[in-house]
């Protein structure tokens, strides 16, 4: 029986999984959980599995209830997430609250997953407080958050916290190699580059950014600044991101076309189209942003390698092993490393604040080169 459960598909969180299964077995289900831990370690997947298990003890994955939760058509299951990058809006929360106060359609539990709960606007989070504290009977909230600093303490205080640790490196490698079918070399490199951030490792491995590292290292270790090279490097990174979004855009256009051919002419058609397009736009923006963040992780990985060299530590800690020859030629002071990291973080913030990424990167490389 056990091996046919959705639980079996969750890797690297044995303790957490046991804990959650225990809650179901002992029938001590409470009304609000907060799953927190680093990005990309499988929190949302675990939340969906927990949601399935609440209405199907085994989380079999094949019954009507389990399938309904997986494809979001379960009548008593609600899934809320930021549509794209930005935020969870007040209207999303108030709509949810209205639904919660109606009876369930089936006899089980009503389960609500709020994914990326740290992206709830403060007003949305505040609107949730009351129902989160005392929802009607047999309602279970599962909030998922990777940035606890942006979860109101009034929210977390109403939930039972379920902590997810970062995945162990072997687990990440296992996932990259066996689940995502990424070559062993590439997987190793991605794990090293990510500096232990698994979500990043997975995305880096499948992004087209690995090739750009050589140019980055050249720029960083160069003796004197070269504006042309900085500009070129920046546009390389932006182009890589645009390439990824262009691919997504094609699929999205098909989706819009199909949806429109269905609703065309009906009164709500314009609204549906607008909603769909807004969602798509945000999705693309999110992927683009992720791409930029990864590029910055790569830039930072180079500085980390420089630090390792600087401190005469074991070379096994060097991430960009393939470029260690170039790295060794760098002359850099520790203070410069500190300010380089600060510059990278600043660029990260800029991009998050929607500064033109090309400008942000150009600016970053101008500054970095000037520092060396």
């Amino acid at each position: 029986m056990k091996d046919s459960s959705l639980w079996e598909q969750i890797k690297g969180h044995d303790k957490t999984v046991n804990l959650l299964r225990g809650v179901i077995d002992k029938k001590r289900l409470t009304h609000a959980y907060l799953f927190c831990g680093p990005r990309g370690v499988g929190k949302a997947k675990t939340a969906a599995t927990f949601a399935a298990a609440i209405n199907c003890d085994q989380a079999c994955g094949t019954c009507v209830s389990c399938r309904g939760i997986q494809n979001l058509t379960h009548p008593d299951f609600h899934y809320i997430s930021p549509e794209g990058t930005q935020t969870i809006l007040l209207s999303q929360v108030t709509d949810l609250i209205k639904k919660i106060h109606l009876t369930k359609q089936n006899n089980g539990y009503r389960v609500i997953i709020i994914d990326d709960a740290h992206k709830m606007l403060p007003v949305a989070a505040n609107a949730l407080l009351k129902v989160l504290e005392e929802p009607p009977e047999r309602v279970v909230f599962i909030l998922v958050a990777s940035d606890m600093n942006n979860v109101l303490s009034t929210i977390s205080s109403r939930c039972q916290r379920v902590n997810f640790s970062a995945l162990k490196v072997e687990v990440v490698r296992d996932i990259l190699i066996n689940d995502l079918k990424i070559s062993k070399d590439k997987a190793d490199l991605a794990v090293m580059l990510s500096g232990g951030m698994v979500g990043e490792a997975m995305e880096i491995a499948s992004s087209g950014l690995l090739k750009v590292r050589k140019t980055m290292v050249d720029a960083i270790v160069a003796e004197k600044p070269d504006t042309a090279r900085s500009v070129e490097l920046a546009s390389l990174l932006v182009a890589a991101a645009k390439k990824r979004t262009a691919k997504i855009k094609k699929d999205q256009e098909i989706e819009v076309k199909e949806a429109m051919s269905f609703v065309e002419g009906s009164r709500g058609a314009a609204t549906i189209k607008r909603n769909l397009e807004t969602r798509h736009h945000r999705e693309r923006a999110r992927v683009e942003h992720r791409c930029y963040q990864q590029a910055l992780v790569l830039v930072a990985s180079i500085y980390r390698d420089l630090l390792v060299l600087k401190e005469n530590a074991d070379e096994k800690f060097i991430a960009n092993v393939d470029l260690s020859f170039e790295l060794k030629s760098a002359k850099i002071e520790r203070a410069q490393l500190t300010s380089a990291l600060a510059n990278i973080d600043e660029a990260k913030q800029r991009i998050e604040q929607n500064v033109n990424p090309l400008l942000a990167f150009e600016n970053l490389f101008f500054t970095l080169e000037a520092v060396v």
């Binding site: 939930c159 640790s165 830039v299």
Partner: protein, 599 residues
């Protein structure tokens, strides 16, 4: 029957059951007995300190069908419906979903209706700070002429965001974070009633983790009761809460003492391999360094047990490390770690940030006291920057006329009005005092700092007016245009300019300030070619000639101090010492105040 969480099950139902808010329950009980219940209350305090529970008890007390009493019967129809939320006379609304002016106007019309079965209509407005400005104004009208059958209870976790016009019309009660002692006792009491065995130590760890919130404490107890089959040990708690094992942290301090920088990579690698969250790690090492600090200051063993750990061995080891490091280094560690804690929240490479900081600390290159002071000063000057984000965050309250002391400054009528017949046990004087955060605002240090800011800005204003031509405000307003114009003319010019902030205009010349990291951008701008283009842009956009010069802020822009979050574990110990968070330490060491806590 569905399982009801312990914190709901153990919600207090009468004033005597409220934990750790004696000053509030006593004053309110007395007011009810004396039939002196006010029309508007403001309950302010952190989460889980009993604001909403108290509001509901007050509602029950004034509406109990057996007569107005501080001990409502809990069995009459009124009490029962208030408890289960179906009362027609007690309206619990959350300000977040009813924050607009329309909702509040509607409320204004509806308060005129009489109560149904109770005597009073009680409006409990949760998280009232979420109201919009207009909504507050509309509410003000109602609070100004409250109908006699209506009681407003405004509850908030963020009293600073409630306009003074509102709070001054309310009796203001400050709910304190529950002390660790009270909290641990309550945890043990609940555990006993629920037939859960819990070690006293474990209760203390829970209390510490709960950061003054009873709801958090009971929530943790609830979880632990489930996962440990009702027998909770200290190890269970540490393991369950995912607290970083003290041993790991201790090792890190030993490593720091050893000064072997190359060992840092191995150490951090082992953390990452073990699946440890680096943010959690930094937060743990930060509170560990706080323990080190306390150990270096406090000599009485008994106090140390209460403040740091009941374990003698732990204290011994801490004392040893504290001795090796010395007080100054502990202080600067704490400061450095606070900065790191803030920085890695949004770092592209948290691991590198941790490694760099640890290495810097080992080399004794951590920030010196002078450097810290300089940073803080810079933060103050930053607020002076017109239009900069930080200047916008100075709460209006700070411009109020100076007050003579914290107790007077509390915008509360409770002091004069509410009868306080029962003599307080030991802390009478603090009955109605303001919270520490409020005290911060009116503390002399802050005021001095503010005064400086105000003076500085009025100076700037004077100069700008003296010039008579382009004002700084104009430049600020037109800055986006200037930037976009620069972008059209020369891409790199825009990239440099974006780093700067217009600071002041003196004698027809604009001063643009650059952060130290962007110092070179400033230099680039001053190069003749760039300067010419920029001046051309100025006259184009502003319609007048404007010269410019650049200056460099010698310090990084990031605020120095952690957001008050991590190190605040016990904001309120019974004695002053317990208040030693990293933030307080820095304040004390440098006589400075955090002007802007925003990142």
């Amino acid at each position: 029957m569905a399982y009801v969480s312990l914190y709901r099950k153990w919600r207090p139902q009468s004033f005597s059951q409220i934990v750790g808010q004696d000053h509030v329950s006593r004053t309110l009980s007395n007011a009810i007995e004396a039939d002196h219940v006010g029309h508007a209350y403001l309950f302010a305090g952190p989460r889980g300190t009993g604001k909403t529970s108290t509001a509901k008890i007050l509602a029950k007390s004034v509406n109990c069908l057996k007569g107005s009493t501080p001990e409502p019967c809990g069995t009459c129809e009124s009490c029962k419906t208030i408890m289960n939320g179906t009362s027609l006379d007690v309206i619990e609304m959350d300000a977040a979903s009813n924050r607009g002016i329309d909702e509040i106007r509607e409320l204004r019309d509806k308060v005129a209706f009489a109560a149904t079965i109770g005597r009073k209509k009680v409006y409990i407005v949760d998280e009232v700070h979420m109201l919009t400005e207009h909504a507050f104004n509309a509410l003000l009208k109602t609070l100004e002429e409250p109908p006699s059958h209506v009681i407003f209870i405004l509850a908030t976790t963020d009293a600073h965001k409630v306009p003074v016009t509102i709070s001054s019309r309310c009796q203001h009660f400050v709910f304190r974070p529950i002390s660790m002692q009270d909290m641990a006792e309550h945890v043990i009491k609940v555990a006993k009633a629920e037939k859960v065995s819990i070690a006293k130590e474990a209760a203390l760890v829970i209390a510490r983790q709960a950061e003054g919130s009873l709801r958090d404490a009971i929530g943790i107890l609830d979880q632990l009761a489930t996962y440990t089959d009702k027998s909770i040990t200290n190890e269970n708690v540490v393991d369950f809460l995912g607290l970083v094992d003290a041993g790991v942290i201790e090792t890190s301090i030993d490593l720091l003492i050893s000064g072997q920088t190359e060992g840092v990579f191995e150490y951090v690698e082992s953390l990452v391999q073990a699946g440890l969250d680096l943010r959690q790690f930094v937060s743990s090492i930060l509170s560990y360094s706080r323990d080190l600090f306390i150990v270096s200051q406090v000599k009485t063993e008994q106090r140390l047990h209460l403040l740091v750990s009941p374990d003698k061995e732990v204290i011994k080891r801490l004392q040893k490390q504290a001795g090796q490091l010395g007080e100054d280094r502990i202080r600067s560690f704490t400061a450095e770690l606070s900065t790191l804690f803030e920085a890695i929240k949004s770092s592209a490479q948290p691991r590198l940030a941790v490694e760099l900081t640890l290495i810097r600390m080992m080399r004794g290159e951590e920030l010196t006291i002078e450097a810290m002071a300089a940073r803080i000063e810079s933060l103050e000057t930053q607020t002076n920057k017109p239009g900069s984000a930080s200047s916008a965050t100075i709460p209006a309250a700070r411009i109020e006329p100076p007050r003579s002391g914290p107790s007077e400054s509390a915008p509360t009528k409770a002091v004069d009005e509410a009868p306080r017949r029962t003599p307080a046990k030991d802390n009478t004087a603090r009955d109605v005092e303001v919270t520490s955060s409020e005290a911060d605002l009116s503390s002399p240090e802050t005021k001095a700092g503010l005064k400086k800011v105000e003076e500085a800005s009025s100076e700037a204003v004077g100069k700008k007016e003296g010039n008579g031509e382009v004002t700084l405000d104009t430049v600020k307003n037109m800055w986006p245009e200037i930037l976009s114009e620069a972008k059209k003319k020369k891409l790199s010019l825009n990239a440099f300019l974006i780093e700067g902030d217009p600071l002041a205009i003196t004698d027809g010349s604009l001063t643009i300030s650059f952060g130290s990291r962007a110092a070179f951008a400033g230099k680039e701008l001053e190069k003749r070619k760039n300067a010419e283009i920029l001046k051309a842009i100025f006259s184009e956009v502003l319609g007048t000639k404007l010269d410019f010069s650049t200056i460099v802020d010698k310090i990084v822009k990031e605020p120095v101090v952690a957001k008050n979050e991590a190190p605040k574990r016990e904001e309120k110990q019974e004695e002053g010492l317990g208040k030693e968070s990293a933030l307080d330490m820095i304040k004390e060491s440098f006589g400075a105040e955090v002007v802007d806590k925003k990142t």
